[in-house]
Amino acid sequence: MSENEKNKAGQIKLLLVDDEKGFADIIAKRMSKRDINVTKAYSGVEALQAIRKANFDVAVLDLKMEDMDGIEILKIFKKMDPDLAVIMLTGHGSEAAARDGIKFGAFDYLTKPCDLEELIKKIQEAVQSGR
């Protein structure tokens, strides 16, 4: 990633969407420590509100949430901001849904529970490809 671009926004702006609050909180904390600007959304609705308010480089989206289907959220994200790179988090065994997501424009997917380092690597890849 080029120096000036990263400075322009200061950091990578990430939207983390997961209805598992404990998981979202700790991931956000650890990412912040790694110099990523994380905005948390605990539900599909919150995620949509957040994306309306601000621009993000990357969204990490849990596909299985109680209020909305992850794929639906992905479709809306892509409509509102076609440049947004979306990384999906999916449960083991439901990779089929994740592969569907890629058809709708998602950048990639990871199976849950995933390693933080792995996730960060994917985020960086996504940011680079978006440039």
């Binding site: 998981f23 700790i26 904390k29």
Partner: protein
Amino acid sequence: MTSGSHKKDPYYKSLTRKMILTVIIVSFTPMILVSGAILYQFHVSYHEKVAAHLEELVQKHKQNIDYFLNEKLSDIRFLSQCPQCENLNQESFLEQQLATLQQELDPVFVDLGLVNAKGRQIAYAGPFKLGEAQYSEAEWFKKAIKSQYFISDVFLGLRGLPHFIVAVRKRFHGETWILRATIDFMAFNNLVENVRIGKTGFAFILNRQGEFQTKLLREVMPSKSTYMELLKNVSKSQDKICIVEAVDDYGKKNIYASAFLKNGDWMLVCQQNKSDAFSDLYRAKKIAGLIFLLGGLGIITMAILLSRRMVIHIALADREKDMMNLQVIETGKLATVGELAAGIAHEINNPVAIMVEEAGWVQDLLEEEEFQEGENLEEFQRALKQINTQGKRCKEITHKLLSFARKTDSRIQVVQMNDLIDDAIGLAEQSARYSKVVINTNLEENLPFIQASQTEMQQVFLNLINNAVDAMDNKGGGTIDITSRSDEDNILIDFADNGPGIHRNNLARIFDPFFTTKPVGKGTGLGLSICYGIIKKMGGEIDVKSVIDEGTTFSIRIPIPEDQLD
């Protein structure tokens, strides 16, 4: 359950019985009706035929005898009316006339005699010395004197030989005379004696008192009461021929045809033993009976054999159906377990992820300088690493459960047998470790992919591994060697254990449903039979080889579909 118990099953027993009964009734009813009707018709016609034959015979002989008697009477009448009849009282004339009669007309005339109104014989010509015999008290004379013509019954008379008399009353010289002639009994007797019907049929003549007018055959025993009964019957039917069936005094069944002759004085009787008269009928009945018996036996045997065979087929079909149902239930159970496992795995995944991340966060914090000098830094780091390791282990477990759950649908998919074997081992690992069983694998790489249901294959592999583990549990451990390889058109998988082995008696029944050697409540006895069903359905084979105290090997052969072969 074995095929033996199927036979004993009351349901199949009653089914067999019902089928046998139905077949027998359906086959016997028309047979009985048709043969009964035919036999009855034959019986009736045959009786009519026999009766008609007897009737004709009696009619013919009645006419014959009547004709004979009338002829003899006419001869004597002719003699009595000849122009020289006044000479009849001279014995020489009489002798001359007798000779003429015997030569010209009939040798049946034995003698001639002229009797006056007082019963004294005036003239006699013949072989006996009967000149001047006194007949005034003789039965025949009393009757003859009263009528123009007379034929007597057979009697012994003065000569002591059976004979009968033909007499004509005549008036000349102003007196009443009776010209009488004796008829040779033997000649007359021949008229009826020669009548033979079948083997036992014969004829005889009775007078009104039931006395024989002809000689009876030597072997025939007269049955008086039957004859009296006949006389009564014939009197009723007047001139007609009367046919009766009756039992004689000796208990024999006879058929009698009788008719009056000599103006109702005598009765001609034809008698034949029924068994003789109807011998053809009886033979036909016997043959029919024999055919009926043999046919009946055949039908019953066929009914029993066919029904038994069909019931065995039905029982087999039922058994297969039961097996299918059980397999469906088992698969369903497995799917339910799979869903449950998936639910739990999902629920556990999140807390474990949070725990691991929290540990990661603590690790992040430990990186900061203020902690670097801490006394227990190394301990902290070790503990966090342990949390991380155990978290990953949890993750693996949930992954296995989820894979299992994902594969509990019985859709046919392209599968790699080695993966399924690995999955099954993963699931059985825990219990194997607990039973001190080591599972070794020797899987051929690049095994061809085949079309199969993952659940079903997994069920087969799990079953075989679990059985081996259970078998070796009692023994206190052992090893299972799982090998996979492929030849030109089959995938071959062996599950070999070094357990206690299977007894030869049990080996033959091992794939039978409900056969189990496990204690009651421990095994359903369905596992292997379901495995067998699954492998068979795929067109493959499952075999078992076992040596006591050395181990058991289950070998599976699954054909590779042709389109998969390159």
